[in-house]
Amino acid sequence: MPKPFNTLTAIAAPIMRGNIDTDVIIRIERLVGNSIRGTLGKWAFGALRYLPDGSENPEFILNREPYRQAEILITGPNFGCGSSREGAVWSLQEMGIRAVIGSSFGDIFFANCFQNGILPIIVDKEIVDGLAAEVQQTQGAGRISIDLQQQTIISPSGQRHDFAIDPRRRVGLLEGLDEVAQTLQRDDEIRAFQAADRAERPWIHFAKKAARKTAGNNA
């Protein structure tokens, strides 16, 4: 169940390279296993954050103060493209990230953010670039404020930018809603759909029960 998101005022780190994929956000080998939650924060951006000998890369922004404390990422276009691995979002969350601001995101990454209480904000590239420039001018000290209720971003210099968000997603984040429980409240509608669909597309709906031992259609 996602943690509710309401307002946030925090250090923001610009990571402006385009097409940062989820393999770069978290390597697959960190995600093999069922007990990985809580272990991922230090592996986020591993390929950029650490040198081949395992030491920190001092040039990478999240290894520098004050960006180490960042709770907001300002990102280049198509951030989070590639794999569907939700571990990418988990790793950001575990390193303390609560919001990402960019001009576009990978579709699956974008959806995964909402499932974990992380707010992804899409605004025009000019606004993204302006926020990054302001943050850099203050050497990272200038904080960004996000108000989800009002749908606004306030830049370090006080400039206000409105952002759009799917109303359902907004409510889900504000209230930290459990989507599974919500859907199951309307399970009778799912079952009614299935009954009607079975008549229309019988080839879709296989027989219930009986763990299938052999390949074959017993629809």
Binding site: R17, P52, S84, I108, A111, N112, R168, E179, D197, R212
Partner: protein, 469 residues
């Protein structure tokens, strides 16, 4: 009666709406849910912890592919890989989900077995916790990758909340030149429009070159939709689609088959359907493609030169090229052909089907892999493996010096520990040339199976058209 002007996407989408959630968002019925070893048992345990049953186990299918070794006897599967496999067995058995296990026909990469078993059908909605689920769109299924939370939602409800995407149609027109494959067509498209062009869209591939492609080539086209940014890609069904599916294990039979085909014939986009974006590609100008950088959009013809950042005015683009060349260890402006390679990987959900192996074997037959190259062939499924062996393809490969492996995802994403060593260069038939994808600091060049086989023989990136017979 069909309303005029509807797209293939709209027809499939509307069929699956259980209820409308908001103006542009619906709760959709999931017809097929595919689980694999990396996330399958995690999702099932998630449900168990919440004390929820699997809503429709008979619409859910599982197979191990990501974390298992592809060595003979599955030797070298890591301890955690073995735990995931054991977990998948236990949890699918406890919930009545059919699992296709190791050494059993039906096991393989999820996106190879779905079509092969006839689980993937036209007009069907398929999800899987893997972004390359778009592959199944080659059979006119609406198929897309989901995250872990959505996976749990589908197990619990057999449904998923989705926002209706925008629509893009890409028409590949003309006759495909010799030596050019489905992989080259889709890489050329990504190079042309960019890796983010499909973000927010479902892409329908159409045009004479798509109609001419066999189903396995169409699966390759749709597989790379996500590399275009589109989580869904699909191709209208036709006689080839029906012939491919007829008689497959989970496809309808007898009278129900006729009923299904009649319904599927109504699926293609209406002639007056309107798309949010249209792209036309002249395939006659396409030559075999190879990537040079760290995004699939970093692609050129094999006769081309690596870009020179000093010739690029836009600072962001220039910096991106510099970063990519530095990672890849390439010289700006140098010809890509002739670049020496250390590894060749033929496999993955993109290019591990029988037709892919035949194309690679055609190049490899009677030749030898260069002594400096290590080359693997990893069939996509147990069935592909057995069919290839029956044709003697395994012998062609091993005689040439390729290693013939067991089915799985293997070195495409290296989740099972099968990696390209740091700094080494690989020509791979997979789908992602991302930083570290095939292993930390591994350098990946994406290409078609025939081009990959040509690189193995030449010991360097090579133009497959010079190696034909």
């Amino acid at each position: 009666m069909q309303t005029p002007g509807r797209t293939l996407l709209a027809k499939i989408w509307d069929q699956h709406v259980i209820f409308r959630v908001s103006d542009d968002t619906d709760l959709l019925h999931v017809d097929r849910h595919l689980l694999h070893d990396l996330g399958g048992s995690r999702g099932l345990l998630d449900l168990k912890n919440r004390n929820l049953p699997v809503h429709d186990p008979e619409l859910t299918f599982a197979t191990p592919d990501h974390a298992i070794s592809t060595a003979r006897g599955r030797a070298g599967t890591s301890k955690v890989g073995q735990e995931l496999l054991a977990g998948l067995r236990t949890e699918t058995s406890a919930t009545g989900i059919r699992m296709f296990d190791i050494d059993e026909p039906g096991q393989g990469i999820v996106h190879v077995i779905g079509p092969e078993l006839g689980l993937s059908l036209p007009g069907c909605l398929i999800v899987c916790g893997d972004s390359h689920t778009c592959t199944h769109g080659g059979l006119a299924a609406l198929a897309f990758g989901i995250g872990s939370s959505e996976l749990t939602h589908v197990l619990a409800t057999q449904a998923l909340i989705q926002r209706r995407p925008k629509t893009m149609r890409v028409r590949f027109e003309g006759r495909v030149p010799t030596g050019v494959t489905a992989k080259d067509l889709i890489l050329a498209l990504i190079g042309h429009v960019g890796a983010a062009a499909g973000t927010g869209y479902a892409v329908e591939y159409a045009g004479s070159a798509i109609r001419d492609l066999p189903v396995e080539g169409r699966l390759t086209i749709c597989n790379l939709s996500i590399e275009l940014g589109a989580k869904m890609g699909l191709i209208a069904p036709d006689e080839k689609t029906f012939e491919y599916l007829r008689g497959r294990a989970y496809a309808p039979q007898g009278e129900m088959w006729e009923q299904a085909v009649a319904a599927w014939r109504k699926l293609p986009s209406d002639p007056d359907a309107v798309f949010d974006r249209e792209v036309v590609i002249d395939v006659e100008k396409i030559i075999p493609q190879v990537t040079w950088g760290i995004s699939p959009e970093h692609v050129i013809g094999v006769d081309g030169r690596v870009p020179d950042p000093s010739e690029v005015a836009d600072p962001a683009r220039r910096a991106a090229i510099e970063t990519a060349l530095d990672y890849m260890g390439l010289v700006a402006g140098a010809p890509i052909a002739g670049t020496p390679v250390d590894w060749v990987f033929i496999g993955s959900c993109t290019n591990s089907r029988l037709s892919d192996l035949r194309a690679a074997a055609e190049i490899a037959r009677g030749r030898k892999v260069a002594s400096s190259v290590r080359a693997w062939v990893v069939p996509g499924s147990e069935t592909v493996k057995r069919n290839a062996v029956a044709e003697g393809l395994d012998k062609v490969f091993t005689d040439a010096g390729f290693e013939w492996r067991e089915p799985g995802c293997s070195m495409c994403l290296a989740a099972n520990g099968e990696t390209v060593a740091p700094g080494q260069r690989s020509v791979s038939t997979s789908n992602r040339n991302f930083v570290g994808r095939q292993g930390p600091r591994a350098r990946t060049h994406l290409a078609s199976p025939a081009s990959a086989a040509a690189a193995a023989i030449a010991g360097a990136i090579a133009d497959v058209r010079t190696m034909g017979r």
